[in-house]
């Protein structure tokens, strides 16, 4: 059965690994009495290997409350039944943490396991505190009030009025920096000390677009070294990858630095995407750099690589679309369509429940309904998928679109659809499109309203 034996662990079967973990936890659970010591022990190890290891976010609780009753989410301690229900399979994976990208160093993997262990131990809620270090402010002890170059500046407090609303309880350092910022900003100063002050302000609140705007004005006025600025903003972007202002600043810089910086920018976005492959800002920036500054050479290959790592990554599929249609090195969509259809169909057959390639396939024929209908591979892939899984909503949906656009189905296809009717008296309609729509109403109940409306559009056409 699900023995603790090494043979189970040797095979790359994640269910076995989870079973092993559960067994170990069950055995070790009684030692929870020495909780404080073990927690300390693990946290010391944890701190030892700090840095780039992605860590489970401690702000995410694993307790959900429903009606005052906390529902703990944790693994069952008994091994799953042989005839595994989907539920136990799902729960078997619940301990897997998101890992940013492939190969962790062995030490990091070890720490990761330790992290998981402690979560199991402390299902009552205790957890290792985050070791994410607070980025120390430069001259943390002394704010601008103590800078000699600011001696003649009169700080300007925020004009919140006598009875403020949504008033934030600023910390002293924050208030001090912003008071000095306002003084220099209102005065319209463009100096080195103002530049230095914006760094402090940005570190405290990277989302303050006024500070970024002021910084840009100063950089222009002082004709500063923009490559140094690029290093600065990249460092901040790594810590705040989802901040509009930072990415806009990068775009402004890149525009000024010109095509030479394109590779640099691509390297940077690759780095960010390696941590979060769907970061919208990173993708937007990458696309802008490609279109404004170039660097198309390795882009299709990059998409291939990302899709190899995660075929569900819709951002990568979207990027693929950009490359196919806009790359000056490829022939445009008409030239690329054929090979792309093959690639997409491959992806679909590997994972028919993955929505991205289905949308991409339709997208390849956007505005060309006749070609879509005429391409036998399209109806072919629908048929193939449906034969394996007649309830695949994406296949049915694409088939429906084809039928509505005038596809003359083959006998095989007609036969398959007829078989799906399950001799349901409701679906006695002769029309194939109506039949498929009725099937969808049954198979995809979440979208019942959508399919019902779709049906009305079919009947109004005939």
């Amino acid at each position: 059965m699900h023995a603790l034996a090494p043979p189970a662990a040797r095979r790359r079967n994640p269910y076995a690994r989870a079973a092993v973990r559960r067994r170990i936890v069950a055995v070790l659970r009684p030692t929870a009495a020495i909780l404080p010591i073990t927690e300390r022990f693990w946290s010391v190890i944890d701190h030892g290997v700090a840095g780039r290891v992605a860590r489970f976010d401690p702000s995410i609780t694993d307790e959900i409350e429903v009606n005052n009753r906390p529902l703990r989410f944790r693994l069952p301690l008994q091994p799953p039944a042989l005839a595994a229900s989907a539920e136990s399979r799902l729960l078997a994976f619940s301990c897997i943490e998101p890992y940013p990208r492939g190969r962790w160093p062995p030490a990091a993997r070890q720490i990761h396991r330790v992290d998981l262990f402690c979560r199991f131990f402390f299902s009552s809620g205790a957890r290792i505190r985050s070791t994410r270090a607070e980025v120390p402010m430069e001259d943390a002890e002394s704010g601008p009030a103590s800078w000699p170059e600011m001696a003649d500046v009169e700080p300007v407090p925020q004009d919140d009025g006598p009875s403020p609303v949504v008033s934030i309880e600023y910390r002293d350092d924050f208030r001090e920096v912003m008071d000095y910022f306002r003084a220099l900003y209102f005065a319209g100063e463009r100096s080195a000390r103002a530049l230095r002050l914006t760094v402090e302000a940005i570190e405290l609140n990277a989302g303050n677009y006024t500070v970024w705007h002021f910084r840009r004005l100063i950089l222009e006025a002082l004709d500063s070294d923009l490559l140094e600025e690029l290093d600065f903003v990249n460092e901040i972007a790594e810590r705040n990858p989802k901040n509009y202002q930072i990415w806009h600043h990068k775009r402004w810089l890149a525009e000024k630095l010109g095509p030479d910086i394109a590779n640099n920018e691509h390297e940077f976005t690759t780095k960010i995407l390696a941590i979060d492959a769907k970061n919208y800002h990173a993708w937007s920036h990458r696309q802008w750099v490609l279109q404004a500054l170039g660097g198309w050479e390795g882009e299709l290959q990059y998409c291939n690589q990302l899709l190899q790592e995660d075929i569900f990554n819709n951002s990568a599929w979207n990027q693929r679309y950009l490359v196919i249609t806009r790359s000056p090195l490829l022939g445009g969509i008409t030239a690329m369509r054929d090979s792309e259809v093959d690639y997409t169909i491959e992806a679909i057959l590997a994972n028919p429940q993955n929505e991205s390639p289905w949308r991409y396939l339709k997208g390849l024929y956007k505005g060309e309904n006749n070609l879509l209908v005429a391409d036998e591979r399209i109806s072919g892939v629908c048929l193939k998928v449906l034969k394996n899984d007649w309830r695949c909503v994406f296949a049915l949906s694409l088939l429906l679109d084809l039928l509505r656009s005038g596809l003359q189905p083959s006998e095989e296809l007609t036969g398959t659809i007829e078989a799906m009717k399950n001799s349901d008296p409701e679906m006695a309609d002769a029309d194939l499109a109506m039949t498929v729509c009725s099937i969808l109403q049954k198979c995809d109940p979440l979208r019942i309203n959508y399919w019902s409306w779709y049906k009305t559009t079919l009947s109004s056409q005939t």
Binding site: N13, V166, K278, Q353, G363
Partner: protein, 497 residues
């Protein structure tokens, strides 16, 4: 929607069979009660009646020699969310009908307390939102209005005063007193003032300067920049057009080119992206569609494709996701829910577009085989277009069809998964509450409650409201996202020229 396949994680060209299994099985089918109108039945997470015929071996059995490729990051993330949400729904389905009704309650008092507390005072960790304080006002004032809660006069006056301090002397509102004016904070400030709705609030908006600000941030491409020399995207277009339309300063000069820019942002998937060629995203889809409706140019989009994309964003968790293959999030209840709700009033355009599509595919040779197109009406445009009327006419229009998304399921997600016991709402179970999600989850709840009615302000029937009828919120104007009554007040106020 992500239906997880526990088979392959990467594309494999020569696999003999494809394994597709659902990772979750619904258990208890809720039964509908007979007699007087049955309460809306909650939707099971995966209501497939029969499992798919097994296509391969059982992967859980150890003795299977089959090697499973690793799951991808997307799949893992999705499974985690599904399991959390599944836990909650399982409790719901296992409960008796009366318990279910209690579980589906909207915790009004707790939410009101959470929101009102923030209006006066916020802790030090909010310094990251120091450049977004009008947003904070809006994220609190708007849901309070949805919950039909009246603010103290003093508080209202103070909010108006504060926003007046955020108003720049040359027009527009910044993130705080003395900050550079920004379109997003302008949008939030104007919406807050409209929600407060008093004469004092509405007259505090300096419309002439606001118009000058909008012209300053208008780009040569037709779109708008978020602030002086700021970024351009579908958001900026929406915030600019929404604000201009609300205070009745929208004219040809401001409207020129915006529609075309947004139309270019529609992607191959059907949704709208932030910029041309970026990924289709729920937030930008709402922004793009709403802006185009206000400009009366909704026909520039491929609406059937948009509707399909948005409809498929509702997943097994019953809430909406922002992008394909990403995770469900409570705030998209509004962004996606309102987007698809807007299309309910655009059915004439949709039908025409569908007709054109089918014509062109069935008769490739005939160019004008379909008779007069809809462009005729645009040629009859008068010289002075009253743009503010578009927003008004739109809301007075009846819904031509019912909701195109599963409005009950959406309400289920919001009430069960997004609510936090201490008050406020959140993204998904496991995340913390915040004001932004409180605002948009409740806005989404309102949209879904009213989506089945023909008129925008008629009272929903009990079967359209999940949980006790006391869950009913105030109706909103889905384009601007302000409470409908407040919109009418503002419309009258700003039409008086």
């Amino acid at each position: 929607m992500v239906r997880l396949s526990l088979g392959t994680g990467a594309a494999r060209p020569h696999r003999a069979r494809s394994r597709s299994r659902r990772a979750q099985q619904g258990r208890v089918q809720p039964s509908g009660e007979g007699g007087p109108p049955p309460p809306p039945t909650a939707v099971p997470m995966d209501s497939s009646q029969q499992p798919t015929p097994p296509t391969g071996g059982d992967p859980a059995a150890d003795h299977e020699a089959a090697e499973l490729p690793p799951l991808t990051v997307t799949q893992i993330e999705q499974m985690k969310v599904e399991s959390k949400v599944g836990d909650i729904y399982r409790v719901l389905f296992g409960a008796a009908p009366d318990t279910r009704s209690v579980m589906l309650e909207l915790w009004r008092d707790e939410h009101i307390e959470y929101l009102t507390k923030g209006l006066r005072h916020l802790g030090p960790n909010f310094h990251v939102l120091d450049a977004n304080r009008p947003w904070l006002c809006y994220w609190m004032v708007h849901p309070l209005a949805l919950l039909d809660e009246v603010l103290d006069d003093d508080l209202e006056d103070d909010i108006v005063d504060f926003l007046a301090r955020c108003q720049d002397k040359d027009g527009g509102y910044g993130g705080g007193p003395g900050q550079l004016p920004h379109l997003a904070t302008t949008y939030a400030a104007v919406n807050t003032l409209v929600t407060i709705g008093s004469e004092r609030a509405l007259s505090s908006i300096n419309r002439d300067n606001l118009r000058k600000f909008l012209l300053r941030v208008k780009d040569s491409s037709g779109a708008f920049r978020m602030h002086e020399c700021g970024e351009i995207d579908a958001r900026s277009c929406y915030t600019a057009v929404s604000v201009a339309s609300l205070v009745n300063i929208l004219d040809d000069e401001l409207a020129k080119g915006v529609g075309d820019y947004i139309a270019r942002c529609q992607t191959y998937e059907g949704g709208i992206a932030g910029e041309p060629y970026a990924e289709a995203h729920g937030g930008y889809t709402f922004c793009g569609l709403a802006a185009l409706i206000l400009l009366n140019e909704a026909d520039k989009l491929d609406l059937p494709s948009l509707i399909e994309w948005v409809a498929f964003r509702q997943g097994v968790e019953c809430g909406f996701q922002g992008r394909t293959n990403k995770l469900v999030d409570g705030c998209y209840s509004f962004w996606q829910g309102a987007a698809i709700a807007l299309t309910q009033k655009l059915m004439t355009v949709v039908d025409e577009q569908l007709k054109l599509k089918s014509c062109s595919s069935k008769q490739p040779s005939g160019k004008d085989a379909c008779g007069p197109s809809s462009s005729e009406q645009s040629s009859e445009k008068s010289s002075t277009v009253e743009y503010a009327k578009f927003g008004f006419d739109f809301i007075m229009r009846s819904n031509q069809i019912g909701p195109l998304f599963h409005n009950i399921a959406l309400q289920q997600y919001i009430l069960l998964c997004a609510q936090v016991l201490e008050g406020g709402l959140r993204d998904k179970p496991g995340k913390n509450r915040d004001h932004y999600h409180s605002c948009y989850c409740l806005s989404g709840l309102s949209v879904s409650q009213y989506s089945a009615m023909t008129d925008s302000d008629s009272c929903p029937l009990p079967q359209h409201v999940l949980g006790p009828y006391s869950n009913l919120l105030e109706p909103i104007h889905p384009i601007y996202n302000v409470v409908l009554d407040k919109y009418h007040t503002a419309y009258e106020f700003f039409s008086k020229e």
